[in-house]
């Protein structure tokens, strides 16, 4: 028997404590079509309605064997609530909401009202989190962690005022960049804390647009915003940034987040070990396209074991799962952890 529950394993690993075997939870989850077929919960409803969202969230553990789940998955939750136009297609059971139009033309106009959490799909996220919490308590004695995901401030800022505009502000108009990041990070804090109140255990802040920044600009402008968020959300926190992050990652050690979910081969685990190992838990990184989507079950197991040997602290997909990833490949990550732990856990 393992010494700890999957939730304890995750929390301890994020705190930098050694547990003597490899943690069994896989934290960064997005649903695949095989799960939708088996649960009867499809997009777009599962991105907007609590019950189907909860069903798919449970599938991470019950079908994917991941000993964890994550809610929500759409990157548009905050943008839509802030007024961006988003498109959903009823004929696409696996299609994510698609961003259509920015909400503001000037960074100084960005604001949100007191009722912001009543808007868009926020309430569905809170509802689904409560349902999943109750089910995990009842069926699994509360031992499976719930990861609450929100989009990071730079990504939200980029979409609500325009991606080109936000990137250019980072050089030409830093005051505007800081102004929008300040408002958006207030929303991050409000939303993140509410998800935790509804039953989330761990925060994942996914900020993919930050990949486009140099290390210097990241450290100067974005890092203080990450620190503000970290100080205002009292829970274990993970940052996810996909792509090539070797220039940004050294600064993440000062972010006051506990884990970094990285994207291999955008960045090498040895590189991260050298720069931030011991200061942050390294989470990842089973390549989503070459292995999870297109590879065999054995290839997923092999790369997972390789990642463990190379020094990752927690296994996870490198990015969101492509929706048509076969279920047996999803399960293969857990299978690899099981194989690794043979003889280490008993």
């Amino acid at each position: 028997m393992p010494l700890y529950t999957p939730k304890e394993e995750l929390l301890k690993t994020l705190r930098g404590e050694k547990i003597g075997y490899f943690p069994r939870c896989v934290p960064i989850f997005t649903p695949v079509v095989d799960m939708m077929k088996k649960t009867g919960a499809y997009f777009p409803a599962a991105n907007y309605v609590a019950e189907p969202m909860a069903k798919l969230a449970m599938a991470a553990h019950e079908l994917g064997k991941w000993n964890a789940t994550m809610i929500p998955w759409a990157s548009t939750v905050e943008m839509e609530a802030l007024g961006c136009e988003v498109l959903n297609r009823d004929d696409d059971i696996a299609g994510y909401p698609q961003f259509r139009k920015r909400a503001f033309t000037d960074a100084y106009d960005v604001s949100f009202g007191k009722d912001i959490l009543e808007k868009g799909s926020f309430q569905a996220v809170f509802g689904a989190t409560r349902i999943v919490r109750a089910r995990i308590e009842k069926a699994y004695n509360g031992e499976i962690p719930i990861i609450s995901m929100f989009q990071g401030p730079f990504t939200i800022a980029s979409y609500i005022i325009g991606v080109n505009e936000m990137y250019k502000h980072m050089i030409r108009d830093v005051k505007r960049a800081r102004a929008v990041l300040d408002v958006v990070s207030d929303l991050n804090i409000l939303y993140g804390n509410r998800m935790l109140e509804c039953g989330g255990d761990v925060i994942v802040m996914s900020d993919p647009a930050a990949e486009g920044l140099t290390g210097e600009r990241f450290a100067e402008i974005l890092l203080p915003v990450y620190q503000k968020i970290a100080r205002s959300i009292k829970a274990p926190k993970i940052i996810h940034i996909c792509g090539r992050t070797s220039k940004i990652s050294p600064h993440l050690a000062d972010s006051e987040f506990h884990g970094f979910s990285f994207d291999y081969p955008g960045v090498e685990v040895e590189d991260l070990q050298e720069k931030i190992g011991g200061k942050m838990a390294l989470i990842g990184s089973v390549p989503t396209v070459s292995h999870l989507l297109e590879g065999t079950r054995q290839e997923v197991i092999d790369i997972s074991l390789e990642m463990i040997k190379r020094g990752t602290d927690i296994l996870s997909p490198s990015c969101g799962l492509p929706q048509y990833t076969p279920l047996e490949n999803v399960q293969a990550i857990a299978d690899a952890i099981g194989q690794w732990n043979v003889g280490r856990v008993d």
């Binding site: 698609q98 259509r100 486009g212 920044l213 140099t214 600009r217 792509g243 396209v289 969101g320 492509p322």
Partner: protein
């Protein structure tokens, strides 16, 4: 004082693109023309060189997207000055390209940089924009023709759209060539999708497009 030679003038244009100095580049382009530098020479061996260097700085992560976007702005400012002076016979090669980000994906930055570099490289490029459906491609090809389709996607969740686009366009236009790229695309994926070419970055896209279209060298 000795007047700057061609190499110095072209080097300065490239440097101003790399330093994204939009104001100085306008003056420098005007000066280049006044000194008798051929406009096409100034574009290809001055501005475009600078943009290639910016691409290399991006690849080595010295530059991020903000820097590259501003380099492209500087290049465009220079192009505005130089383009009217390009002689007729030097204008774009007779090769018709379409470019777009695939259905479901609204990322435009990489695609726009690739388009810019293809244009600077002499291609005529029609930009269908972002989130473009296979049907839009088919309709465009029916109406205005096209020799090559360049497709981009940044997300793993829209990779499937790239394959569907290639399949559907090919069914109606079997001779059209496909050049693909974007963060979620690999050489291997490109081959599996049946694309003729894959490019890792904008500079490579021009090289591959020239090879595929028979304009190499």
């Amino acid at each position: 004082m000795e007047a700057p030679n061609r190499e110095d003038i072209l080097r300065r244009l490239a440097d101003l693109v790399v330093r994204f100095d939009e104001e100085s580049i306008v003056i420098a382009c005007e000066e280049a023309l006044e000194r008798g530098i051929d406009a096409n020479d100034a574009i290809l061996n001055g501005l475009a060189c600078g943009m290639r260097e910016a691409g290399e700085l991006y690849d080595s992560q010295e530059y991020g997207i903000p820097e590259v976007l501003l380099c492209a702005d500087a290049l465009n400012r220079g192009m505005d000055i130089l383009k009217p002076h390009v002689r007729g016979e030097q204008q774009s090669m007779n090769y018709n390209m379409l470019i777009a980000t695939v259905e479901g994906d609204i990322h435009s930055i990489g695609k726009n940089i690739v388009k810019l570099m293809l244009e600077v490289g002499g291609f005529e490029v029609r930009d269908l924009g972002e989130d473009v459906t296979p049907l839009q491609f088919v309709q465009e090809l029916h109406q205005n023709g096209g020799d090559m389709v360049a497709l981009s996607t940044m997300m793993t969740t829209t990779l499937g759209s790239m394959k569907v686009t290639i399949d559907e366009v090919r069914r109606e236009f079997p001779k059209v060539l496909f050049l693909v790229g974007g963060a979620s695309v690999t050489d291997d994926t490109a081959r599996k999708f049946g694309a003729h070419g894959f490019a890792e970055n904008a500079t490579e896209a021009v090289v591959v497009a020239k090879k595929l279209s028979g304009h190499e060298g």
